[in-house]
C-alpha cells in the first residue's frame, strides 16, 4: 500500500509549497488586520471584502516596481541573496507531516513530502541557512545601514540558534527519534492520569523547553521584539534597505514563510501536530487541527509585536547567552535524569528525594527573600547605560 510513485509525492510537496505561499500572502493580511484591531483601527478595507484582495494587489504592485541596483553593489551576490532566503524557507516545509497515509480518489496518498530520519535537524539547518541570504544581501549592498543590519542579524541568529536547537533535545530524548513522523506518532499515544486520559503532547512533559523554543523562534525569525536587524528607528530598513521591487519582497516572503514553518514545526513538536478530536477518523480534521495550532502561534507573534517595545542589542544578546543558554542546558540534564529514573536505570533512595526537595524549597525561599540573590539578568539591565 505504500509504494507511492514519486510524481504523487511531488504533487503533495508542490501543493504544500503553494499553500504555504498563499498562506504567507494571507498572513500579511491577517497581521495587518490584527495589528489594526489592537490599535483601534480597521486595517485594509478597500480592496475586496474586508480587504481580502490586499495581498494580491500588493504582489502585483511589487511586480511592477523598478528593480534598482546600487552602483557599488556586488552584482551577482546582490542578485541571488534574496533567492537564498526564499528557497531555504520554502524547502523546510517538505518534512512537515500533515498526516499519515490516506485515500484520496481511490489512491493511497502520503500527506507528507519527505520522511527524513533527520527531519528536525533539517528544519533547524535550513532555518539557519536563511541567514546567509541576509548576510550576503547586506554585504553586497555596499551601504552602511544594510551592513549594520546584516551583522546584527548574523550575531542574533547564531546566538538564538543554539538555544533553539538545544531546547529541542528534551523532545528528542523523549521520542528517541529526529523524524517528525515518529515524534508525531509518539504524541498520539495517550497518558492515563487516574480516570482521565490526556494526549502525550510534549508541551506537558517539556514546558520549559516549549517556552524557550517560543522565545528563540521569535528571535530566530527577526520578529518584534527582537527585530534589531531591521530596526527602522536606527537602521532605516535594516539589511534590505537597498533592495526594491520583487527582490525586496523575497526578504518579506522569506520572513513570513519562516514564521509559518517555525510555527508548524512547534505545533508538530510540542502541541501534538495533527492530533485533536476526530483527527484519527478523518484526515481533513488532522490538517485542520495542525493549521489551527499554527494560527494560534502566528497570532501570538502579532500580539507580541503589538505589545512589546524593541529590546536593546545588549539585552538581546544577554537574554540568549546569560539566561536562556544555562536554562536550556539545565533542562537537558534534568530531562535526561528524570528519563533515566523513569526507565528504572537508576535507583534513588527515598531520603535523597527528600533532601533534594528540602534543598529546592530552601533555595527558592532564599532567592525570593526581598533583596536576595535572584536571577542575574534583571539586575544587569539597570547596570548598563544608554545604547
Amino acid at each position: 500500500m505504500n509504494d507511492q510513485p514519486l510524481w504523487l509525492t511531488f504533487i503533495v510537496a508542490f501543493t504544500a509549497m503553494n499553500v504555504l505561499l498563499a498562506g504567507m500572502a494571507y498572513m500579511t493580511w491577517f497581521e495587518r488586520k490584527v495589528l489594526a484591531r489592537m490599535q483601534d483601527r480597521l486595517g485594509p478595507t478597500r480592496t475586496g471584502p474586508a480587504g481580502l484582495l490586499q495581498p494580491i494587489a500588493d504582489g502585483i504592485k511589487l511586480l511592477g516596481k523598478e528593480d534598482l541596483i546600487p552602483a557599488a553593489a556586488d552584482k551577482p551576490v546582490f542578485f541571488f541573496a534574496p533567492l537564498v532566503i526564499f528557497v531555504t524557507a520554502i524547502v523546510s516545509v517538505a518534512v512537515i507531516p500533515f498526516g499519515g497515509t490516506v485515500e484520496i480518489f481511490g489512491r493511497d496518498v502520503n500527506l507528507f513530502a519527505a520522511d527524513l530520519n533527520v527531519g528536525a535537524l533539517f528544519i533547524l539547518a535550513f532555518g539557519s541557512l536563511g541567514v546567509y541570504g541576509i548576510i550576503l544581501g547586506s554585504y553586497a549592498s555596499a551601504s552602511r545601514y544594510p551592513l549594520l543590519g546584516g551583522l546584527r542579524a548574523a550575531a542574533q541568529v547564531i546566538s538564538y540558534e543554539i538555544v533553539l536547537g538545544l531546547a529541542l533535545v528534551g523532545v528528542f530524548i523523549l521520542s528517541g527519534s529526529l523524524s517528525l513522523r515518529d515524534i508525531l506518532a509518539r504524541q498520539q499515544e495517550t497518558l492515563s492520569l487516574g480516570p482521565i486520559d490526556i494526549p502525550n503532547w510534549f508541551i506537558l512533559s517539556q514546558p520549559i523547553a516549549f517556552v524557550i523554543y517560543t522565545i528563540a523562534a521569535v528571535a530566530e525569525t527577526n520578529r518584534a521584539p527582537f527585530d534589531l536587524p531591521e530596526a527602522e528607528t536606527e537602521l532605516a530598513a535594516g539589511f534590505h534597505t537597498e533592495y526594491s521591487a520583487f527582490r525586496f519582497s523575497f526578504y518579506y516572503l522569506g520572513e513570513y514563510i519562516n514564521m509559518i514553518v517555525i510555527s508548524l514545526f512547534a505545533s508538530t513538536l510540542f502541541l501534538g501536530g495533527t492530533g485533536g478530536p476526530g483527527s484519527d477518523r478523518f484526515w481533513g480534521l488532522g490538517i485542520f487541527w495542525l493549521l489551527a495550532k499554527t494560527i494560534v502561534f502566528l497570532f501570538f507573534y502579532i500580539w507580541l509585536r503589538a505589545t512589546l517595545p524593541r529590546f536593546r542589542y545588549d539585552q538581546l544578546m544577554g537574554i540568549a547567552w546569560k539566561v536562556l543558554l544555562p536554562l536550556v542546558l539545565l533542562n537537558i540534564v534534568f530531562t535526561a535524569f528524570i528519563r533515566l529514573v523513569a526507565n528504572g536505570e537508576l535507583e534513588i533512595p527515598v531520603w535523597v528525594w527528600i533532601a533534594v526537595a528540602v534543598a529546592v524549597v530552601a533555595l527558592l525561599a532564599l532567592s525570593l527573600r526581598p533583596g536576595g540573590g535572584g536571577e542575574a539578568a534583571p539586575a544587569r539591565t539597570s547596570a548598563v547605560g544608554g545604547d
Binding site: 505504500n2 507511492q4 509525492t9 511531488f10 510537496a13 509549497m17 511589487l62 511586480l63 511592477g64 516596481k65 523598478e66 528593480d67 534598482l68 541596483i69 552602483a71 557599488a72 533567492l83 520554502i90 517538505a94 502520503n110 513530502a113 519527505a114 520522511d115 527524513l116 530520519n117 535537524l121 555596499a142 552602511r144 551592513l147 551583522l151 550575531a155 547564531i158 546566538s159 543554539i162 536547537g165 538545544l166 533535545v169 528528542f172 530524548i173 528517541g176 527519534s177 529526529l178 513522523r181 515518529d182 506518532a185 532605516a236 534597505t241 537597498e242 521591487a245 520583487f246 523575497f250 545588549d314 544578546m317 547567552w321 543558554l325 542546558l329 540534564v333 528519563r339 533515566l340 536505570e345
Partner: protein, 125 residues
C-alpha cells in the same frame, strides 16, 4: 512506529525537487518583474541610501570585534549541540553510562562558559 514508506534516497530526491521548484518559482517571479517593471536607472537611484546626504566616502566594512567573540562562542556551543543530538536520540540505549558521560561533558563546557562570562565575553556594551 510508522512503517518505512519511502527509501531514504527517494526522500532526499523529493527535497532536491522542492529546491529546484522553489528556485524556478523565484526566477519566474523575478523574470515577471523584469518584464512588467519600468527601467530608468539614474545616478541618484544607484547611489547608496544615506538618508538624503551625499555619500562622501565609500563604505568600509569595519565592525566591532564583539561579533568575532560571539562567532567563536557559537562554534563551541554549536559543536556541543551537534554532539548532544545523536546522544538524545539513543539515550534509552545508552542508559546510566550515557547520562554520566553527557553530564560531565556539559559540566566541562559549563566551566568554560562561566570563565567566558567572568572574562566579560558575554557583555555587550
Amino acid at each position: 512506529m510508522p512503517v518505512e514508506t519511502q527509501t531514504l534516497g527517494e526522500n532526499w530526491l523529493v527535497v532536491g525537487l522542492m529546491l529546484v521548484s522553489a528556485f524556478s518559482m523565484g526566477m519566474l517571479l523575478l523574470t515577471l518583474n523584469k518584464i512588467m517593471a519600468p527601467s530608468k536607472p539614474s545616478a541618484a537611484k544607484a547611489a547608496p541610501y544615506e538618508s538624503g546626504m551625499p555619500d562622501i566616502e565609500p563604505v568600509r566594512p569595519s565592525y566591532s570585534p564583539r561579533f568575532y567573540v560571539v562567532a567563536m562562542l557559537f562554534v563551541i556551543f554549536d559543536i556541543e549541540a551537534i554532539f548532544i543530538f545523536p546522544w538524545a536520540v539513543i539515550f534509552d540505549e545508552l542508559g546510566t553510562y550515557g547520562f554520566v558521560e553527557m553530564v560531565s561533558f556539559i559540566g566541562l563546557l559549563f566551566v568554560g562558559y562561566i570563565y567566558a562570562w567572568k572574562k566579560g565575553a558575554l557583555e555587550w556594551v
